[in-house]
Amino acid sequence: MAAGPGDRNSGPAASVRFFCTAGRGLEPFLMREVRVRLQAKQVEYVSGKVFFTTCSDLNMLKKLKSAERLFLLIKKQFPFNVSSVNKGKICNEMQRLINDDPESWLNTISIWKNLLELDAKKKRLSQRDANLLKRKMGENDTVITKKLKAEQMQKTQENREYQLEKQAEEETLAQGNFLTSREKLQLEECQNEAAEAAGTPSQNDLTFRVSCRCSGAVAKTFSAQEVGRIIGIALMKQFGWKADLRDPDVEIFIHLNDIYSVVGIPVFRAPLASRAYIRTAGLRSTVAWAMASVAEIKAGALVLDPMCGLGTILLEAAKEWPDAHYVGADVSDAQLRGARDNLKAAGLEDKIALLQVSVVELPLPSESVDVIISDIPFGKKFKLGKDIKSILREMERWESGAQKDELSQDHTATTTQQSSHRRTVQ
């Protein structure tokens, strides 16, 4: 079902069905995002999860901004009927998740493996291309040997692959004068594929762990651990896999509730919601991105967050819509210090300016700002010095008639236009 792993320029990859978990209220954003970013088809959602089909590779999937975690779908079916039946019978039904259709499990596992291998291969190939280019720029062989050795020392790769590549390079260089650089590349590729075939676990010695979430009626009869054990034993019996709770090859995720029974494999270890480019998070990154997406930031816009805190909203916005000028303002020294660190860590200092000013005394001329986005402080952690009415009045003075979004007390985003017409955006 999956695309051939050997070709660099393989034809269109096969369509694969995924699902993402999403924070409540963010499902519509995620549905739109998968359609736009991944050209996804068959997009549907059920409270907290969005299901979709796409041919995109891991690089594109990694870019999803409004999702919590991404999974390969193994099974989605009706919830277990727990009303009157005895425990043993439901236990059997759970085992049938696996035993009725072992094919779909094995299929999904091999899709998962192919996705990861393809991704690892692309990374290796792009590194090798970079090396080749350096070689072509007129260096002689002895210099190349030393340079390659030095470069390899700096590369971070899995130990086994690193050792084999090193051997491969040294061997090819020994024959160096006889091979052209193109032939060297082909030799390396063959040796790497052999390494991969040896290194990847076969279907039979896969280690796994079951991660289970139960809610609703099922949770009253079964604990998550019980379900995990039932499924785990069934998997061991059916496929001969071994359980490893600490560092398994693959994680099996099961979610049982009153609406559905869903089984999947998480694609990445870290949740998509935890961004590599944000050092200290303030507002949840998924919500920040969603707010920025509602704002419809156009190229050349002046975007202001008058209570920016650690700058999360501006970071998400500047990353996705880089062709605007972003300004963050806050009264607090500590917050601005955190924001400055965040900007530096994300490499976005050029796009986002910081000011230490108060939201009711912003040094901006009237009608100068195109977009205002803010997570207004409320409640116990942060206090609002002035009342919200005077703040909104000030905001209306400097915004130029375009959009502004605010996150108010109950976390519903509000879009306000200059005619002060209120619409709630979920």
Partner: protein, 113 residues
Amino acid sequence: MKLLTHNFLSSHVKGVGPRGFPLRLQASEVRIMPVEFNPDFVARMIPKLSLGEVPTEPIQGYEQNEDFLRTMHHILLEVEVMEGTLQCPESGRVFPITRGIPNMLLSDEQTEA
């Protein structure tokens, strides 16, 4: 603080109004930070700038003049004032710039969160 940002700031001292622009800039430490040149972005920013005593209509075809755009790019985006002051031209009130961030709080209270 970049000069592009400075161009958007206007004094908020009470009673000053539009006479609060532009804030007088005195820099004691300036850094030049290379920034990737994006001609489209610079071209879009130019009509937003308040350039004082210049003709209101920019010269025809400035969007295509790469030399001009590169110069504006350098001035607006690559010059970073790290330390200095901003002064309200009308009231004379002075605001410090520290580590690239202007502090323009009018009252002395700062919320430490």
